[in-house]
């Protein structure tokens, strides 16, 4: 029953894409894009959809725009949407904000039923999955029309947006995890500088304990514990997954060192046992601990809390600076690609948004564009303190279904390792072998 609409849908989109090519092929002359930066570089050849960078000038329409900016980043996005509609009379934006956790469940289902969004924002590591599921369409033409090129971005954020030789996402930002610390506690303990390596972190913990903070650095065993683990793994020189999505490789020496260090923080008493969901962050806001590692998306929340906090790059625990990162990318759905007007309007929207990379610093994020990181909007923001770490970010490879594999494997291993339930090596090797098997199944399922 489900099959027929799926096949016809594919055919339809192929047909209308051809029609769309014909429609817009003559649009090369008017290359005055809403973006600015790359508007001059008109594409020499059409990408999929043949978008040429011109502003959408068709009949009034309304685009469904889905995203998961529910946290401190929500108001910043709403402001951007407002600014966009003020500049574009013929495009209405119907903004639908869903919690990220539900977002990835709902999106394929809604797209399947033809009730999904036209455009949206999703995480970099979800692009391949949704591309393989035919939820989203390639945007090479848009990237080209906007004059986006790899040099404009840190390479690590540009590459994973490509799946099977096509670009599926336009980067908006980069986000990573950072070290937050309580300035009042640091002052009282006589620490003048944020720790930069394992030794200075341990030294700080000892001083903080001496000043009366019983457990200064709480080690979570649930979110964002696996992001901490991945950062440490990269710091010790490891790689979590084979680039081609065939195997999980975090069960090596680097992985063991990373997880062992995490558990050690509990054993040495810097962290209490059994830090439950979100407790490390709540306790940080309450001044019950002094150091916590968390996403930079918490910046706005911490600003609002009135806590006297500092933010710094993760200390180098392993051999070199490295940190987990992810990125919000704009995408367009197959549903929008079916209709030339919607596709064009959607691309106008994405192009405009992509240019607001610097303004998006208000959401606590790091702009994806190199040029936007020189903008005062960013250099004056708290997250600018991350400095060098921005050059040392690591992203998960674009492997369909990888995020779903990680939940019952790596996340469980980190949980058991930090809780002291299972020895790090054992937990990781079991998780990695299960993950490798699940990844093999995925390769088969998504047709490699």
């Amino acid at each position: 029953m489900n099959r027929t609409p799926l096949f016809t849908k594919k055919n339809q989109s192929a047909l209308s894409r051809r029609g769309f090519l014909g429609l817009t092929a003559g649009g090369l002359l008017v290359a005055g894009c809403g973006g600015g930066q790359g508007a001059g570089t008109a594409p020499q050849e059409e990408g999929v959809g043949g978008f040429t960078g011109e502003e959408y000038s068709g009949p009034d329409l309304s685009l469904a725009y889905w995203n998961g900016f529910t946290g401190g980043d929500g108001p910043a996005m709403q402001q951007l949407v407002k600014d966009f509609t003020a500049e574009h009379d013929n495009i209405q934006i119907k903004n639908n904000t869903v919690d990220w956790a539900d977002f990835y469940q709902r999106l394929p289902a809604a797209a399947q039923a033809g009730k999904g969004p036209d455009v949206g924002a999703m995480h970099l590591d979800q692009l391949a999955t949704n591309a393989a599921r035919n939820v989203i369409v390639p945007l090479d033409d848009l990237a080209e029309a906007l004059g986006l090129a790899e040099e404009d971005f840190t390479a690590s954020v540009w590459g994973p947006g490509i799946y099977q030789d096509a670009r599926y996402g336009i980067p908006l930002d980069v986000h990573t995890i950072a070290m937050y610390y309580n300035m009042d506690h640091f002052e009282k303990a006589g620490i003048s500088e944020a720790p930069t390596d394992a030794a200075s972190l341990e030294d700080a913990c000892k001083k903080l304990q001496a000043s009366g903070i019983k457990n200064p650095f709480w080690m979570p065993n649930q979110w964002p514990a696996h992001l901490m683990f991945l950062s440490l793994l990269w710091q010790f020189g490891g790689e979590p997954y084979a680039e081609d999505g065939s195997a999980a490789t975090y069960d090596d020496e680097a992985g063991e060192q990373a997880l062992t260090w995490m558990r050690e923080q509990v054993e040495k008493g810097y962290s209490p046992d059994n830090v439950d969901i979100d407790a490390q962050y709540t306790a940080f806001k309450n001044g019950q601990n002094s150091i916590t590692w968390d996403g930079i998306w918490q910046i706005n929340d911490l600003e609002d809390s009135g806590l006297n906090y500092g933010i710094a790059p993760l200390p180098v625990i392993g051999d070199e600076l490295a940190a987990w990162a992810n990125s919000h990318h704009f995408f367009m759905t197959a549903q929008a690609a079916d209709d030339a007007d919607r596709a064009n309007a959607g691309k106008t929207f994405i192009g405009w948004m992509s240019d607001q990379s610097a303004a998006w610093s208000d959401a606590g994020m790091i702009p994806a564009r190199n040029s936007a990181r020189e903008d005062a909007k960013f250099t004056d923001s708290p997250q600018a303190a991350l400095g060098d770490q921005i050059e040392a970010l690591h992203f998960l490879p674009p492997v369909p279904g990888l995020g779903d594999v990680q939940v019952p494997t790596l996340e469980v291993a980190v949980n058991e390792g930090v809780l002291g339930k299972t020895a790090p090596a054992e937990a990781l090797s079991k998780a990695a072998s299960n993950a490798t098997e699940l990844m093999g199944k995925n390769l088969e399922k998504f047709g490699g």
């Binding site: 394929p108 393989a132 599921r133 035919n134 065993n221 046992d273 059994n274 439950d276 407790a279 098997e437």
Partner: protein, 301 residues
Amino acid sequence: MSVARRSSAGVAWLFLAPYLVLFGTFVLAPIVLGLWISLHSWDFTLPGKPFVGLDNYVDLFSSGSVSFEPFWNSMQATGIFTVFSVPLLIVVPLAVALAMNQKFRGRNIFRAVFFAPYVLGVAVVGVVWRFLLDRNIGAVNNYLGTIGLPDATAWLSSLPAAWVALVGVTVWWTLGFNAVIYLAGLQDISAELYDAAKVDGAGSWASFWHVTLPSLRPVTMFVTLITIIASANMFGQSFIMTNGAPGQDTRTAIFYIAETGLQNFQMGEAAAASWILTLFLMLLSVLVFGFFRLRGGTEAS
């Protein structure tokens, strides 16, 4: 005569029709479709849904497969939860209902207090108790410490404390519902039976044992069945409070099925797992029916 009978049968079907349509659409059809899905490698977002025969079932039953351990762990978790929560949810609500049935001042407030938690959704109950039961910053450990009891129990991330927490919260949350059903049953017992028992010289214990309990048998059977089914379907509490921790020890069968089917879109395998869980529940229901029948039989003779 036969015409009249036929037309009355027609009327009966007519009255049953609305329910049958709903039952067919929302229960029967999904069950059959689920069986069909379980025979495929089914990801509804992909065009290809290859037929795999019984492979999904074989995977779940062969110890070498990657799904074997997580699935049976989750079945075990559901089993543990059911074994501990069902007896409590049968006995405690009965005691509460007996108290509710007494005549005393403030009886209505007493009834409302016990029923109130049931009005809350699982999300509210889960989040509130997750905060209260936090190992390091929760109110429960804090107050336990204040009165000199152990204050470092990891209610949400260690065993067996996590089971105590999950079962305790569930009993607190749902006992009001069972109690109200018992209460209705109690009010249905004719006062003459108690009078007769009194005449025969029965004390309050004897009249409870020989009048109340036997009269409540159909009600107790109903409560037992729905409680077993509700417990076997436990998901929200562990999803919100423990997220399956420690490791995957409190990840229940429904948790596993939801994660496999709705998050990872491996719907074939999830459907197969659902069928296995369903067969277990059917078997259990038959046993419960048999148990109450048997007891009914011996009492009658």
